[in-house]
């Protein structure tokens, strides 16, 4: 199964409903392999991974994440738009996806955040090529930085979560989300 680059870039969607069936382990490894082809500042390759294929665990972490996010509403106006979702007991920030692929960044690199984001984009594109949907779950960043979850995953203290990516086979159709015309501030010749 191969795909043209342009089709991957324009066709990828953030998917928020998944089939039950798991993503094959071999494919998850292949996606990680695509991720680490991303450019990396000073060749530091500050990315490292953790894979979670346990919906109960993810549900538990989702509940904890919602609790943490609700606690930040007061001093974070941006988060307030999500208050109802965070208070909804049914809402799972991981959308019952069968797989959570976490990219942690090594803080020894001052560029770990962008390097890991570049790797994440490779992974989301490569997943799409294989019929696997993905979504960057920003709601999970904080909870994945707690000592409890880092300990459970064996993540060293000097690593920080950058990209919590859910993966799975999409349920239903995911139409494109419109984009505004790009702003170009200037074009100097």
């Amino acid at each position: 199964m191969m795909m043209q680059l342009k089709e991957a870039i324009t066709g990828r969607r953030s998917v928020r409903a998944y089939e039950e069936r798991p993503v094959p382990g071999e494919l998850i490894r292949e996606l990680i392999g695509m991720g680490i082809c991303a450019p990396t500042a000073s060749r530091m390759q500050p990315w490292a991974f953790a894979v979670v294929e346990n919906r109960e665990k993810m549900r538990e972490w989702s509940d904890k994440a919602k609790e943490l996010l609700l606690g930040r509403m007061a001093d974070n106006p941006y988060l307030r738009q999500y208050k109802a979702a965070m208070e909804n007991k049914e809402f799972n920030i991981f959308y019952n996806a069968p797989c959570l692929l976490l990219i942690y960044g090594d803080t020894a690199s001052p560029n770990h955040v962008v390097d890991c984001a570049l790797a994440a984009q490779n992974i989301m594109l490569a997943a799409y090529e294989k019929g696997v949907g993905s979504c960057w779950v920003g709601f999970a960043t904080q909870v994945c930085n707690t000592p409890e979850i880092k300990d459970a995953l064996g993540v060293p203290g000097d690593y920080r979560p950058v990209a919590p990516l859910i993966l799975g086979y999409p349920r239903g159709q995911w139409p494109p989300v419109p984009r505004r015309e790009p702003v170009v501030f200037s074009w100097i010749k």
Copy 2:
């Protein structure tokens, strides 16, 4: 000219020597169009662009960038590995590339840094498909945040430079840079 996704991901290189000929303006616009297909937190699309196709201006900004970076060596151990380059009058952080495509992030989005990085990866892959080399020039971030350059580019105060990308037709061959085996801290089933 089309390319398979996998070939783009694995074949892309950070290119640091360029031919004289410019990148067509139409292609630069197309690359920006690919950039904004990236996922974006809360649909905020916090990216905006500036294009510079003036080698003299870029040379000037490179000199200023080196000066700024030298000034930060004392309290930034990471930068010290680049001291000789920064002191070298000949060194141009933009490698005489014909084009600098800057992605600025709107700080109104708490996720502007990663969103712009995701867009940058799309752009670097799409450039490679078209035979255009690219390099994320981290050295340029600070200088592109100075009031002088932001004013010259018409960048509002609440935007911050995230991805300074040089673009151009590669001079010479760019072999792959080896990657370490990816670290997977854990795989929970």
